[in-house]
Assembly symmetry: C2
Homo-oligomer: 340 residues x 2
């Protein structure tokens, strides 16, 4: 590969992103300056939050500028280094974005030890999605033994970890996923107590059946019909960490959900806690997360499933699919080989 | 007084309570049995939560049955006792309800020391309303020095304490109250940094002006237009303890507020915390509350204002007024003299 490739935001999507909102560009592989390293991307992580970065509405993060490289967490190899902290061959966790090569001054890079786990897990179960599940569930959700925890996108990177950690804490884990194959997998491989299909027109009734003692923790990552099914089932003192609303990311206008008029009344009478978070709010929990989660993964208590798309040029299609649940497991793009 | 009087719930109100929803009954003063005491009510506390007890919708508490005595916290004198824990002349905090006399087995009674503070404060600043302010603000709101705290019903029992405690913690306190007289009082006597009239058609704009650095804590006790004005001003990581929604207590149907469609998006992107509570959820904070609050009251750091209606027979009118903000300070009913 003598040329570098990158995918930039060609235009801000209105509603669902379309192929023309992305543009593949080729350019010369850049050369690192003083103190800099040249990174070659191996794994690119695609995550729902990226839809937010494509829009310029108010958010916790700056949007990607039109013409700018799409943002992403990546696992990269250092291929050239003018920085004493890194040497060629080092594997690092980076935010190199949707591109084959990137220059970094070393800030924000974290070395990944390939002997501990497959390096792709650094953007998965041992990375941002895993830590989102860990902190949101444990720090906000605080499930107790015997309680019922519900999470959607249960075959995905975050949801699968949420349910498995809930089970480790002695809670019942009820997943919601798209289609029978995913639901079966969530039960048989991730060990959830039950998993329901969000496409089921009777979702609300099925969820009520699956949660005979009500819901104590709802880990909110989707919104939409799932939340509407969950809402009436909240127990007193239920907790709802909110880390995403994928069902709404393509909304072109804010639509009031059917529970809108009674939400605050339930908050009051049931003493609910609703709290939004992003994983970086819990940066001081990183060591605890890595210690616990790597032990759980090693012991087989937390399993993970990866869904790999080959080639940077296919990232836009994979991302558009992710927003529709076309992935089955953590969505990754294989940008380059492990060893160049 | 040879007869006892009580006010019972004659019918469940639809919307705003009306006089015929209450009924004054006279009956013989009851005689305490073995282990029981006879209480004579001196002070009756009227509080917005009582509107909820008049309805049989789902709530954290059982409704008052039709024909049953309206519930209330009271300050009573023990006038006869067959219980070794109490002697005639003792002043106690009780839940004797809207009546001149009541029988108690002693459970749930707490002695009040008249030498420490006026006994009426046991149902006010040193009682349930004060502790609601203390726990909701400090345990959920957690104001930090320099932050902005907003509370409505700011001349009332809970709101006035919220703002004054916020100031003790170094936060700015912005009150909202009904009318110029109350707003002036909230500023001059309770020391709030500012107080706005909720009847002002420009409330949203005025609130924005009064909170140039946004809102970090909104102590929710009213809902309605006040919350709609507050909502767009939330800062990242803002906290909203929810202990009441007086603007909605007479609603006959749930109406979606104008922010309904974007609430969860703000929760997520601003990392908001919304948490409902009632004071009994924080029972283990009672000692800390009494220690702090009695010191603050003694030192003049927390002031309080009482609004007294004379005579049990006037309790329904006073309560209906309370729901419309006709009271100016903590609403009490003087049911009997301090000494019989």
């Amino acid at each position: 590969m003598s040329q570098a490739k990158r995918i930039v935001l060609a235009s801000r999507p209105v509603g669902e992103p379309k192929p023309s909102d992305f543009r593949l560009e080729e350019h010369a592989i850049p050369t690192p300056g003083a103190g800099e390293v040249l990174l070659r991307t191996i794994w690119l992580s695609l995550d729902p939050y990226m839809r937010g970065r494509m829009s310029d509405g108010p958010s916790y993060a700056q949007p990607v500028p039109v013409g700018g490289v799409m943002e992403a967490g990546t696992v990269c190899e250092v291929v050239a280094s003018n920085n004493p902290g890194f040497k060629p061959g080092d594997i690092v966790l980076a935010r190199a974005g949707w591109q084959t090569h990137a220059i970094s001054d070393g800030k924000g890079l974290a070395k990944v030890d390939p002997s501990l786990a497959p390096i792709s897990t650094a953007v998965g179960v041992l990375g941002m999605p895993g830590m989102t599940a860990y902190t949101g569930l444990l720090d906000i959700g605080q499930p107790k033994a015997g309680e019922t925890v519900v999470v959607a996108a249960a075959s995905g990177a975050v949801g699968s970890a949420v349910g498995q950690i809930a089970r480790i804490k002695g809670a019942r884990a009820i997943g919601i996923a798209g289609g029978k194959d995913k639901c079966d997998y969530v039960k048989s491989e991730f060990g959830f107590d039950d998993c329901l299909d969000h496409r089921d027109p009777d979702l609300a009734a099925k969820l009520k059946e699956a949660c005979p003692k009500g819901i104590d923790v709802y880990f909110e990552n989707v919104g939409g019909a799932v939340f509407e099914a969950v809402f009436p089932l909240f127990n007193n003192f239920a907790r709802m960490p909110v880390c995403g609303r994928i069902a709404h990311y393509n909304d072109t206008q804010a639509v009031a959900p059917k529970w809108a008029g009674s939400l605050m009344q339930h908050v009051l009478t049931k003493r609910l806690t609703i709290r939004g978070f992003i994983v970086s709010d819990f940066a001081d929990r990183r060591d605890a997360f890595l210690k616990d989660m790597s032990a759980w993964v090693r012991d087989g208590k937390v399993k993970y499933k990866e869904f790999v798309t080959d080639g940077l040029e296919n990232a836009p299609t994979a991302f558009m699919g992710l927003l529709k649940g076309a992935n089955f497991g953590k969505q990754l793009v294989r940008v380059g080989p492990d060893k160049a």
